[in-house]
Symmetry: C2
Amino acid sequence: MALADLARTDLAAFADAQRAAYAELKAKGLKLDLTRGKPSPEQLDLSERLLSLPSGHTAADGTDVRNYGGLAGLPELRAIFAELLGTSVGNVVAAGSSSLTLMHDTLVQALLYGRPNSVEPWGVEDVVRFLCPTPGYDRHFALADRLGIELIPVPMSDDGPDVDVVASLVADDPTIKGMWLVPTYANPTGSVCSDEVARRLASMPTAARDFTIMWDNAYAVHHLTEVETTTPDIITLAAEAGNPDRVVVFASTSKITFAGAGVAFLAGSEATVGAYLEGLGYYSIGPDKVNQLRHVEFFGDAAGVRAHMAQHRELIAPKFAAVQRVLTERLAEHGIAEWTDPAGGYFVNLDVLDGTAKRVVALAGEAGIALTPAGSAFPYGEDPRNRNIRLAPTLPPLAEVEAAMDGVATCVLLAAAEELLG
Amino acid sequence: MALADLARTDLAAFADAQRAAYAELKAKGLKLDLTRGKPSPEQLDLSERLLSLPSGHTAADGTDVRNYGGLAGLPELRAIFAELLGTSVGNVVAAGSSSLTLMHDTLVQALLYGRPNSVEPWGVEDVVRFLCPTPGYDRHFALADRLGIELIPVPMSDDGPDVDVVASLVADDPTIKGMWLVPTYANPTGSVCSDEVARRLASMPTAARDFTIMWDNAYAVHHLTEVETTTPDIITLAAEAGNPDRVVVFASTSKITFAGAGVAFLAGSEATVGAYLEGLGYYSIGPDKVNQLRHVEFFGDAAGVRAHMAQHRELIAPKFAAVQRVLTERLAEHGIAEWTDPAGGYFVNLDVLDGTAKRVVALAGEAGIALTPAGSAFPYGEDPRNRNIRLAPTLPPLAEVEAAMDGVATCVLLAAAEELLG
């Protein structure tokens, strides 16, 4: 029976039961962490062979990877990820180890010099604003905010951002210079941008001629089921719509091989890639090509990446299943929470009773279960309904995921009962 | 006899002889490159063991280096380079693989947010200017110019920049926000900043309260003789002078292990490091700690780095000796050129007869000897005396260095004779 339908005395009894359960939970002295989307040690072990690679130091074209140069990255690695990202090698740059850094560099270049199709640098405008599909990735929002870009939330749907809202906002407002988007297995909802939404994003009229979609395809190959979703080829869609420079694509191997010690990728039109490399040439004499060759040898080809990701799936799918199982068993009947069941990515989006998310996170924290701060998935950390919690189950062992989720469920129920009792 | 003292007929005969020598040179069809300071394959071979490291994946404090985190870098690697840079581990960050990128990031942060001791971001000023000890490093100048910073040349002396000129300029002009400096074995002159000059730079009154010395200690341990010069501890000198945030120190292992695939370092006061990490935290979730652990295992300790650099010296000192030998044999008697004899670093600075540097580089290029474009070592590429040429002898094999220098000498003599004939 839904909590909201209980008689007040029954609700009070329910709350008492949850308080007792919560006291038991605290007594366990847990120390569990579901805060960040980090791979587990077992996942990292899948790439242990990288530590003794590369076997040589020469790239396919004879380049000595130990020396300077090759600003765009090794062609053979770019080719592998061009295939995985559904684009061409000439549209892809392999640079550094962090896609977040490439996003930062892209925005800094836009602010200081403009994008290829800009009339002026963004930095000369009084106001620069970005649409933020919400709930979304907290680091995206913080990065843009840090650079002085104002954040405007737009709703996230199952098939990507609410494109009617997006199209309506960008049509008339030239201060809206861009938007964030994780197209596949979005952080945290797991939603996948459909071809139709992608086509509309690529073709919609925008008041800002240099409107830019920051297309963060962080989870392109991070499937949790045997269905390997294909991300829309946004670069081609944008070109076909006459807006070739509208999109900058990002990806990395951080959640494929080693987090922070992998390779990051930037992709886009010829002008987008050219402008990026022109700027990069002022502050880099070439990327870590040794690490790039290491990854080429490790993967072999795109099929090698896919096979590697299937091993990741075997390790983490049971953890996601455990989240579903515990949440369903503990919460479903009470009608006070909803959650996603993602087909890929790193997160489960949990919406608890309106007004209780902060309380749930606080209760969990006191019981030794660290959760991402409530509101993190919203611009400026402000969840207007105070209901959203992001769950990241990949890092802890399965038994800890189960224990943590059971504890979280207790906190969700207790907070809901308190809230309903008023 | 000096060319300038020759009778005109003798000078004409000398020019004819050089023309003949130049024709012979061209006929050889050489293809030699002295343009950039790149390590040779033999130098890179010294670090080949890195390719099969690290042997494990756990840092000294138990951190799994394969996962996210540790923004400041591995303490054990920072400790090694703190010792080599003459500072403390808490003053050093290990980040990325390129010190040039760290310089860029530092200037971008200064422009967008200011330095720790700024009143406002540099970017709100109408004009921001930097002093450029000249001849200097072309990439420093291009990087600042790209960011809209105006470049003011100041003379480079044997003991560092002409500190009288520097102190005089910065005392009254608040638009001068900083200066570049390679303190040890400067690019390209090889000069070493003395303790006295460093002390004055650290303590001189500056009209800009946030005047910043970009102290690029790229060649701190790159000795060409058995004398291991110690760079002044500018961080302590600045702190003692009451200007703790005046200096940002940069270094990397690019010319120690693998160029572009090493580790870069930033050092400075607690506020400098803190501000850098605060900014970095918006666009990085930690550096490539696997590569850092790889370097820790490879070096062992600071003594390991010094021993490794002695092996580099054995490989490249003969090339620098060859440059001296050929230049002395071919040019000394003619009084039309001067050159440095550096005790470390990667370059020899050659000053030819005023007005002939571009002609020398063009002649050499036509004969298949690639030299850095004349004027490169000056802000905006403008050498007012058109006499400066940077020689980079590390990359080619010894025999090629000798052949290239012999060819360069011919070009220098031909251009000088032509110039004197008018």
